[in-house]
Amino acid sequence: MMRFILPVMLALAALPARAAIEIKEVVSPGGITAWLVEDHAIPFTALEIRFRGGASVEAAQKRGATNLMTALLEEGAGEMDARAFARARDGLAASFRYSVSDDALSVSAQFLTENRDAAIDLLRQSLIAPRFDAEAIERVRGQVLSGLRSDEKNPQSIASRRFAALVYGDHPYGSSLDGTIDTVSALTRDDLVAAHAGALARDRIHVSAVGDITADQLGALLDSLLGDLPATGAALPGLADPVFPGGVEVVDFATPQSVVLFGQPGIGQEDPDFFAAFILDHILGGGGFESRLMTEVREKRGLTYGIYTYLADRELAQVWGGSVASANDRVAEAVEVIRAEWQRMQQDGVSQDDLDNAKTYLTGAYPLRFDGNGTIANIIVGMQMRGLPIDYAATRNDQVNAVTLEDVNRVARTLLDPARLSFVVVGQPEGLTESSN
């Protein structure tokens, strides 16, 4: 029982100004680029691969194809069926994780130095030569369908789907990448083969490696691991055009506590005002215990266990989002307080003290993130995905410190938009009527 649990949030920003790590760019003989942090203290390597595009490259009527394909990468490859592959991987004590989001297909691998070549050969087969055996397809399809049926009765999943549909409409971001029971049931092996060819290609790769490996070793590894992938994959969709109608939408669902998602337009890291907004979000709802929303909704009124906001800087859209959950007879008050705080922040901004405290936290916490091979590999592949320079570390805290009170309060006035702040409430809220602006 934690005092509270932080939801999975976007990792924004990265490298320590003063942590003793050095990122090298490695270009393989075959032309694949990776970022490397060499650290020979522990005899293993953490490798992170991202294929940009992820599930967003699939057609609407094939929704769920990339997700099912990704789950099948470890279900048989080359000469091995699913069980043979698992036995080989476990025998090497290697860890391979495959996952997909709307922005990327991710492969996270950890392997010992003592059997690195064998581990990479196995990983390679799963990426280059997955089998998509009929038996495996049906087995994993059954798991996906089981999850989809559960999602239909889970207030959190219902809220996520409804919020995405409301904001993104027909864009791929507007539907769940898991697909629907209908689309997943209809997927064929050909669809999975096509999804594989569309998602895993050399024109969309980012790689990071951290640990017991040299630049030369990594270069050779990259070519053997990824060199045989096709040069190009499926086209990425265009930008989304998020719609925020304002008001409250209620989805009736019989459960004691209402689950609430809310949001308004966000801002991307390429925007000169990004760090001002980032600090503003920290003060408003991103900063855990210290945020205004946590103070007002939880600490003062006891209306929830936790409330959070975040800036979602996605590849194809930017949203300023948040979440809260309150008992059905108290959620109306929680929504009212959130709206009032949004309004207050927009009108009155923050104080110099608020700003200084936020900066102290954000710049102080920054170097503490880089505390393990797996963690660092994750962070630096994320930097590549976001198009940040390799020396971002050296400037990140300076960019935070350069934000002035005027910047933050100007961004509060211009970016915060109480009229467009839109709520989706799943539950049986009392005294909360649907409204739209």
Partner: protein, 448 residues
């Protein structure tokens, strides 16, 4: 293979992980005890300028007085309020202003508080943590508001989740006499009545240096930790009235127990069974090690016995799993779960599960599978060094649950020494329906 769905995976969370990660190389861990009885463990990792500072109390929900369920967890929340020296909220505010983060957690056997900060702020963290060990000042209006927060926490974790409600009922059926049958967060009807007196009684009884373990992991030396700990925690006197941790023990279970939990919000029914099982005991971890390996053999991943039989050779199940939470002060459970494929009834799924377990007791452990598990145990010692916070947690759990530093350090070797015969013997001992609780989680019956 997809990982277990959220619904099923929540089962695993409360049971902790099937395979505890083995400890670091012994020379990176130092331990000593302050004169007032406070135990100290230092885990060194100098790769990044950060430390994890934790104080663990040997007091959890299973130490609560009858009628006050949830007070251990409620007190954990209240520990962030006013003390003699700090205002409400000042603790976390100070941590944040130093670039750190803090939190706390409660389980059956322990309550723990932690801050993750730059290594040069360790002294400040100790100063504040030492203050709230003895100087808490509780205010009635703050208590009333925070009680609403824990009720909302219960709503979020339990009332909104049929799987959690099911598990709560099942645990209550599993433990006839021991407090492991009472939820950590508390029964709702008792939570709403928790007050200042309940909190202070628990605080004064259990929060003292001779009932606490200090764990510091990261970029520090044992000498630095010792000097700071003596300065900040050293002056706090031991509690001479600290009670011995004697809890009602479970009687032998001699009759199989079963329950059905129905909820309209269930989309995916499943069958879950727990067998009462021995826990890791200091100096005698062999049986627990065999059970740990058994959980891997039976129900951890694609190559496990249950997955092979129920997901590959037949298509009875969508998911299968076996879990064993060996680190526990008192008797624990060994759990198996089967999520049936569409069109397979719970009755059929359970029968198939029972056939697999019976077959396993006849055929025993596959030697190659055991070799792979041993390889993973050895590798886990290498991977574990990348994450000192998990090592810190491992020591905290062990030392609050009846184990010693030496037990933690011996554990990888004890695991490595487990033989196929040991696993089979452990299976024969534990997999007995007479000492099991079998639960079905189901949707409401449809009435036309």
């Amino acid at each position: 293979m997809l990982r277990l769905s959220a619904v099923v995976f929540s089962l695993a969370l409360v049971l902790s992980h099937a395979m505890a990660r083995p400890a670091l190389a012994d020379d990176q861990v130092t331990s000593f005890t302050l004169p007032n009885g406070m135990d100290v463990v230092v885990v060194e990792d100098h790769r990044a300028p950060v430390v994890m500072h934790m104080v663990w109390y040997r007091a959890g929900s299973a130490d609560e007085p009858a009628g006050a369920s949830g007070i251990a967890h409620f007190l954990e929340h209240l520990m962030f309020k006013r003390t003699e020296k700090m205002e409400t909220g000042e603790f976390s505010r100070t941590v944040a202003r130093n670039g750190g983060r803090d939190n706390a957690f409660t389980s059956y056997d322990y309550t723990a508080y932690f801050q993750r900060v730059a290594a040069d702020r360790l002294g400040l963290m100790m100063q504040m943590e030492a203050d709230r060990m003895v100087n808490l000042r509780l205010d009635d209006s703050e208590i009333a508001t925070e009680r609403e927060v824990i009720i909302e926490e219960r709503n979020q974790r339990v009332e909104n989740s049929p799987a959690a409600l099911f598990r709560e009922q099942k645990d209550a059926v599993q433990y006839l006499n021991h407090r492991y049958g009472v939820p950590i967060i508390g029964w709702r009807h008792e939570m709403v009545a928790l007050d200042r007196d309940d909190a202070l009684a628990f605080y004064e009884r259990y929060y003292a240096p001779n009932n606490a373990i200090l764990i510091v992991a990261g970029d520090v030396t044992p000498d630095e930790v010792r000097a700071l700990a003596e300065q900040h925690y050293g002056p706090i006197p031991a509690n001479p009235d600290l009670p011995e941790r004697l809890r009602p023990s479970e009687p032998p279970q001699t009759a199989e127990r079963r329950l059905i939990y129905r909820d309209a919000r269930v989309a995916q029914p499943y069958v879950s069974r727990s067998y009462l099982a021995p826990e890791r005991d200091s100096g005698a971890q062999e049986t627990a090690a065999a059970l740990t390996v058994l959980a891997e053999v039976l129900g951890s991943g694609t190559t496990s016995v249950m997955a092979e039989a129920l997901q590959f050779d037949t298509q009875v199940a969508t998911f299968t799993g076996a879990f064993y939470g060996g680190t526990s002060l008192d008797r624990t459970t060994f759990d198996v779960v089967v999520v049936p494929s569409e069109g397979v009834s719970l009755e059929e799924a359970e029968a198939a599960m029972d056939r697999v377990l019976a077959d396993f007791l006849n055929t025993g452990v596959d030697a190659e599978q055991l070799d792979r598990i041993k390889m993973q145990v050895r590798a886990a010692q290498i991977y574990a060094r990348d994450d000192v916070e998990s090592i810190a947690n491992q020591y905290g759990r062990a030392l609050t649950q009846g184990l010693t530093v030496a037990d933690v350090q011996a554990w990888p070797d004890v695991l490595q020494a487990v033989t196929a015969d040991d696993v089979l013997a452990a299976a024969r001992m534990v997999l007995d329906r007479r000492q099991a609780v079998t639960g079905w989680l189901m949707a409401e019956e449809v009435t036309q």
